[in-house]
């Protein structure tokens, strides 16, 4: 699975998976992101799904799993630019509050707000 991972200021990680995210391809991205999480001071993950052509419930499991990892450091999660089908799946899974259409900067603003209890 193609993926792009970028460290942003403030300890935020931007993950931009591309192609198709299913049970088969989820493992690789899980390994990469988990590696980063265990390695350093991460204060949140921004999942930019704008380049993702397909996602099934494996994507939900992947994001929920990383949210669990982030809980120990009180880190936040933003899901950026999902397709309308993906949006429906996230809403069904109770992740509606994490969705945002916009840029990584908008996501950081949202995370800053969450972290500062606004």
């Amino acid at each position: 699975m193609e993926q792009m991972i970028e460290m942003l200021e403030g300890g935020f990680v931007l993950v931009r998976p591309a192609g198709e995210l299913d049970h088969h391809s989820a493992d690789e991205i899980r390994r990469t992101v988990s590696h980063l999480l265990y390695g350093g001071a991460i204060s949140g993950i921004i999942w930019d799904l704008g380049s993702l052509q397909f996602m099934d419930s494996a994507g939900i499991g992947l994001i929920l799993g990383r949210m669990r990892d982030l809980r120990t450091v009180d880190g936040g999660t933003v899901i950026l630019n999902p397709s309308s089908t993906m949006r429906k799946m996230f809403e069904m899974s109770g992740l509606g509050d994490h969705l945002l259409d916009g840029t990584a900067t908008d996501a950081i603003d949202k995370l800053g707000g969450i972290l500062h209890g606004k």
């Binding site: 198709e20 049970h23 088969h24 397909f54 992947l62 089908t85 799946m89």
Partner: protein
């Protein structure tokens, strides 16, 4: 339009994409909207993945069978395995219910399948396997597209 197909594949995770692609090609002549295609693909992916990982535990000697039938603008898809089976189907279909939480399954597969189909039926018996059948009707192609296309 009437058409019919059958596809059989081994229970390996690479074949999740194969099932999605083949069944998407099968309905391409209906000119579905992008949203209809992505919902339909998602349902196939959920059912095929379940057969592969829950039915057979990714044992490549297990075979998953997919049948599809097209009648007008309605497609009927059946995805079946002869694997482990489900003891309590009602329980399995509850949102967030999963027997594989350690593999980061979300337990949302059946909930998503129900929401993206017109009709979903799950038949299963422990030890003999699981069959998921769904129907989806694609919206009519708008007049403008039909005359220009």
């Amino acid at each position: 339009m009437e058409n019919e197909m059958t596809l059989t594949f081994a229970a390996v995770s690479e074949n999740e994409a194969l099932a999605r692609m083949t069944l998407t090609f099968f309905i391409a002549s209906l000119d579905p909207t992008l949203e209809e295609i992505s919902e339909y693909k998602t349902v196939i992916s959920e059912a095929a993945t379940n057969a592969i990982i829950h039915g057979y535990g990714e044992d490549p000697s297990g075979m998953v069978e997919v049948r599809a039938m097209l009648e007008g603008r309605e497609v009927t898809v059946t995805i079946s395995d002869k694997g482990r089976g489900i003891t309590d189907v009602d329980e399995a279909m509850q949102p967030m219910f999963t027997t594989k939480p350690d593999d980061e399954r979300s337990g949302m597969g059946f909930t998503i399948m129900e929401s993206f189909t017109d009709n979903l039926k799950v038949e299963s018996a422990p030890g003999s396997g699981t069959t998921v059948t769904f129907k989806k009707t694609f919206s009519p192609v708008p007049e403008v597209c039909r005359t220009t296309g």
